[in-house]
């Protein structure tokens, strides 16, 4: 009765499977809906298996049509299923791509984080090294500064000692000279007894003492001048406001005229630094330092300061207020 054509064979198998699945779902549907009767009761409802041998033409045609409709439905569901499978496959592929991308991104994220961390560590190390280097440099600077201060102190002490020695020498020489002069006087009163030779000897001695005395005097004045040098320089320094961004290697040479009492009467630029602002600031500093702290009592020392020159170089700049 049923002719199994070869080309329908797989279709029919699939159809059977579809039917099975459909049955499964329908069963599930009925299982959910308890109000629908799904168990056919035995007894009168039972139909005979074969009702008649002879079937009429209408019945046959109906059966064929049913079969055809069934087959068409099967084919349609087949195509739908293939489309669904293709769709599914595509979506699976997209998911795979997405998952892969997500994995890549996660890995990238991790790598970026790791790299950042490594960099951070390297950076920290470098910074630590640099900090240590800076500290060492700072220490060295400090040591140098201390040495410098010590040197300056030493120099100052030397100067003071020199001056002291000079002062002592000067006094000693003066005493000697006084003694000698007295001796000479005493000798002169003893006119008769002195020989020419003795006189010559005495004169020589006297001359020698006099020259020694002059030397001591010069050293003494120089000592005072040195002392006032430092004071004058200090007072000009306190008034020298160096213009911003000045080249510390530039220097300007000024001539300063000072009136009795220390007042600055005139300042002229002997040698320009080439930087007008620096020159002006130097001139200003000298004027502002007026009156200069120079000795007024000792005319020999004042003479030294009446007109002097000063070279000003901004190699060291300190901050104020």
């Amino acid at each position: 009765m049923f002719i199994f054509q070869k080309k329908y064979q797989p279709s029919l198998i699939i159809a059977a499977a579809v039917h099975f699945v459909l049955f499964f779902f329908l069963f599930t549907v009925f299982a959910f809906n308890s109000s629908l009767p799904y168990v056919v009761k035995s007894g009168n409802a039972q139909q005979p298996i074969v009702q008649a041998v002879a079937v009429n033409q209408q019945q046959v045609q109906r059966a064929v049509q049913q079969l055809q409709a069934q087959q068409e439905a099967q084919q349609r569901s087949q195509v739908a299923k293939q489309q669904a499978q293709a769709e599914h496959l595509k979506q699976m592929q997209q998911q795979a791509t997405a998952a892969k991308y997500a994995q890549e991104q996660a890995l990238k994220n991790l790598q970026q984080l790791k790299a950042n961390q490594q960099k951070l560590q390297a950076q920290q190390q470098l910074e630590q090294q640099q900090a240590a280097q800076r500290l060492a440099a700072l220490k060295q600077q400090q040591t140098q500064q201390q040495q410098k201060v010590a040197q300056q102190k030493q120099h100052l002490a030397q100067l003071e000692q020199q001056q002291q020695t000079a002062t002592q020498n000067y006094k000693l020489q003066q005493q000697k000279l006084a003694a000698l002069q007295q001796k000479q006087q005493t000798m002169a009163t003893q006119k008769n007894l002195q020989s020419q030779d003795a006189k010559d000897l005495l004169k020589q001695e006297l001359q020698q003492e006099q020259s020694q005395l002059n030397q001591a005097k010069t050293a003494y004045i120089q000592g005072i001048v040195n002392k006032y040098n430092a004071l004058v320089i200090q007072s000009i320094y306190q008034n020298w406001f160096i213009p911003p961004n000045t080249n510390p290697k530039l220097s300007v040479k000024l001539q300063v005229n000072v009136a009795q009492g220390g007042a600055v009467s005139n300042v002229t630029v002997l040698q320009t630094s080439g930087d007008n602002a620096l020159d002006q600031s130097a001139v200003m500093a000298v004027y502002k330092a007026s009156p200069l702290p120079i000795p007024t009592k000792n005319p020999a020392v004042y003479k030294q300061f009446q007109q002097f020159s000063i070279t000003m170089t901004p190699s060291e700049i300190s901050d104020v207020g």
Partner: protein, 168 residues
């Protein structure tokens, strides 16, 4: 009764139409398609990171980034994918992808960082089959903050890529 009917109907529909698609659809509906978020100054509204909005397509999106990072976080990949599917299915649709950074640092360096962020989305869209002609991208750097001020919260909101449909 109502729930069983819905379940029944969906199972019927699934059984008849597709056997396989069931697993991937999850539980989200298309209910969130309603309106395009507007209202903020730039036509961009900061959004939460709810999955409903993320997976909705076509739907404007904001993806957020970690400090100094320009890698798209894995949790946003499915969302970009959903927009890509829509864009492939609708070749006349166009998207603007705008990268942003927080306020810290240098403006022009932030422009570069913002562009890297925008490109992290653009590249995934292209990989998923969206045509270049459908995508425009720009970096606003730190010049279009959603939140002002120097707080971690503001920073986090500004480190983002805004994906805005220009036509659907």
């Amino acid at each position: 009764m109502k729930t069983t009917n819905v379940l029944k109907m969906s199972c019927l529909a699934l059984g008849l139409l597709s056997l396989a698609a069931c697993s991937s659809m999850g539980g989200n509906g298309a209910n969130n398609l309603s309106t395009t978020a507007l209202g903020s100054q730039y036509g961009v509204q900061p959004m939460g990171v709810g999955n409903n909005i993320l997976l909705a397509a076509p739907h404007n999106q904001s993806y957020y980034y970690d400090f100094n990072m320009s890698v798209l976080k894995p949790q946003y990949v499915a969302s970009v994918q959903a927009q890509a599917n829509y864009m492939v299915a609708h070749p006349s649709a166009t998207l603007l992808v705008a990268g942003n950074t927080d306020a810290r640092g240098s403006h022009e360096y932030n422009m570069a960082l913002g562009e890297r962020r925008a490109l992290s989305v653009v590249n995934l869209l292209k990989q998923s089959g969206v045509k270049s002609s459908q995508i425009r991208y720009i970096s606003y750097g730190d010049m279009r903050p959603i939140a002002l001020g120097n707080t971690e919260t503001a920073y986090a909101q500004n480190r983002r890529v805004d994906l805005t449909y220009q036509s659907k």
